[in-house]
Every structure is written in C-alpha cells, then in structure tokens.
C-alpha cells in the first residue's frame, strides 16, 4: 500500500482516549457503552462517559470515525479509511518508540 502523509490530529488532552477508541473500533463498529467496556477491559482503567464523548466528537469532526444509524437509541461508530490509516501510523510510531525504549533498557532479545 502506498504510504500517504496525514497530519497528526491535534487532540490535546484527548489524544490518549482517542487512540484507545480508535483501537477499540479497529475490529468493527461499536456503540458508546461497548467502547467504554472494551477500553476498560483492555487497559484496566475506566473511561468516563464525558471523556468518551468529548473524544468521539473530536474524532468525528476530523473524519477519523463515522456514525452509523442508531439502533435502540445506541449509535454505533466505525473507523473511516483515513482513521484506519492514522491509527496504523500512530501504532507504528508507538511501536518504534517502545522498541527504542526497550533497547535502551537492554531488554530486547535478539
């Protein structure tokens, strides 16, 4: 796949919740409560409803996720193509950074 440059979205203090939400949506659409429980199960830390929707609104504004038709007043969200690519790039950057840190700690097994 051809690599395209996307500006890293400035999400300020919502950057981390936004990343967690994007990861949660990476295996398929989810509504708000499912995202919350998924994030809590994955990280062990709670994500409050206010934080969740502040981050969702920003992600939607930037076109990284899109809302689907509501089902029983629950509205699922899914990753857009750009959202998927931005997530891939961010995770790759994080992996490189983590590898660098581990290498410096002398814990990389080769």
């Amino acid at each position: 796949m051809e690599h395209q440059e996307h500006p890293v979205p400035e999400l300020g203090r919502f950057a981390e919740p936004a990343l967690l939400i994007l990861v949660s949506l990476s295996d398929g659409p989810k509504h708000g409560y499912a995202i919350m429980t998924d994030v809590e199960a994955g990280t062990g830390h709670p994500m409050g409803p206010g934080t969740l929707y502040a981050a969702l609104a920003r992600l939607e504004e930037r076109g990284l996720i899109e809302a689907l038709a509501p089902v029983d007043r629950r509205r699922p969200y899914r990753l857009t193509a750009i959202g998927s690519q931005v997530l891939t790039e961010q995770l790759r950057d994080l992996a490189e950074f983590a590898e660098l840190g581990l290498r410096r700690l002398g814990r990389v097994q080769r």
Partner: protein, 258 residues
C-alpha cells in the same frame, strides 16, 4: 439524574449526541467519578462549541484573552480619545472628569495590548512581545502621569510634571503601537487596516512632537491630529477585528448537526 446531567451540555451538542449519551448514562449506575467526568465533559463541550470550528482550532488557546483584549481596545481607545480631546477643549482648570476618563482609557489600552499580543506571539514572539513591552511600559507611565495631573495638577510628580510623564508615556505607546502594527501586518491574524492606522499614528507622532519642541506649529498640530485619530481608530478597528475573529467560521460546527 441522567436528564439533569444531560442538561448541562450545550443544546447543539445535545441535538447531536443527546439520545445516545443519555442511553449510555443509563447503562450502569453512575458513581462520583462518572458524574465528575460528565461535568468536565460538559464544560469541554461548551468551550469547544463556542465559536470553535475546525478553522479556529489553531487559535483555541486564546479566545477569552482575545475577547477581553478586543473589548478593552474598543472601549479604551474611545475613552482615551474622548478624555484627551475633551480635556483640551475644556477651558476650566478642573481635571474632572476628562483626565480620569483618559486614565481609564489608557489602562484599558494596556489590557488590550497584553491580551491581543498574547494571540500574535505564536508567529513572531520577539517582535510581538517587544511591541507589547514598549506599549505596556508607555501606558503605565502615561497612567502615572495622568494620575499625577489628577492629584497634583501642574505640580512636579516623580521629578517631572504630570503632563511630561503623560507625554513621554504616550510617545512610548505610539512607538510600541508602531512595532505592534508591524507584528499585526506580518501575522495577518487581525485587521491589516488597523495595523496601517497604528503605523500611521506612530510615524505622524514624530513631526507632531517636533512641533512641541520648536517646529512649525500649524504643521505640528496637523500631524498631532492625524496621529491621534489614527491611533484611536487603529485600536478600535483592531478590537473590532479581534471580536469578529471569535465568531464561528460558518453557521455549522463540523460533525455536529444544527
């Protein structure tokens, strides 16, 4: 409880996310953490939706400073020019009420230059803060001079007459405004017309002051009037453009249904 928490959010936000958010709040019992998180989320939604579209995202750190600076610039320039002109035309020896009016106007201009300079400092930090420092120092000296005129009249104040302090401070304000005009013109975040007016004021004040120290009087008066009008007009226009920049880029906020 859920309904009450939802009401804390702005109406436009509720129109888009209200139903699903209320459903989410009903999915499980709300603890103190959740309530605090929702209240902070509501505060964020108010700040985020208040004229902040994607087009204004870059300016998000300064809306309040900018708004205060805008109002201070408009009110300050008007009070400053009214106080100055009226005290010149008033034949009585009394300093009231025109000099206090000028004092308040100058203090407001000090607030304006600090508030509006903070916005521009991102692009040209040294130039903007130099302009801010010179104008602010001038405004402070002018305020002291005006205060001296109000309290002691023509008696010396800090070794100089109140009028001399005011004139020195005002000269520095004009000079600082000239630097600020360059910063404004180059940054292009506020009105370039205002920048041009402030530039004219800072240039015209030089021959005007030369007239005070012995140059041709009629010419000096003409330059003085030009400098005053351009200075007051420049700050007023700058304030108006600062307030205009607070408006949303369009009637709709991206991602939020109207």
């Amino acid at each position: 409880m859920r309904h009450l928490l939802l009401r804390v959010y702005p109406a436009r936000w509720r129109a888009r996310y209200g139903d699903e958010f209320e459903t989410l709040l009903g999915e499980r019992p709300l603890g103190p953490f959740d309530v605090a998180d929702v209240l902070l989320g509501a505060l964020d939604a108010h700040l985020h939706l208040r004229g902040l579209g994607a087009a204004l995202e870059d300016r998000k750190g300064f809306p309040m400073t900018h708004r205060i600076g805008g109002y201070a610039a408009i009110l300050g320039s008007l009070l400053w020019i009214v106080g100055l002109v009226a005290s010149s035309l008033d034949g009585s020896d009394s300093a009231w009420p025109w000099l206090p009016l000028g004092l308040v106007g100058t203090a407001l201009l000090l607030v304006a230059v600090i508030g509006l300079s903070a916005f521009q400092a991102r692009r040209y930090p040294r130039l903007t803060w130099a302009a801010c420092a010179v104008t602010a120092a001038g405004a402070a000296v002018a305020v002291v001079g005006l205060f001296g005129m109000v309290v002691t009249g023509d008696e010396p104040f800090f070794g100089l007459s109140g009028w001399s302090l005011w004139a020195l401070g005002s000269l520095a304000m004009f000079g600082g405004s000239g630097l600020y005009a360059i910063a404004t013109w180059r940054t292009h975040t506020l009105s370039r017309g205002a920048a041009a007016l402030l530039g004219i004021a800072s240039v015209a004040i030089v021959p005007a002051m030369m007239g005070v120290v012995g140059g041709p009087e009629q010419l000096a008066i003409a330059f003085f009037l030009i400098a005053l009008a351009a200075f007051a007009g420049g700050w007023t226009t700058l304030g108006l453009s600062a307030l205009r920049s607070q408006r949303p880029a369009s009637s709709s906020v991206p991602g939020v249904a109207s």
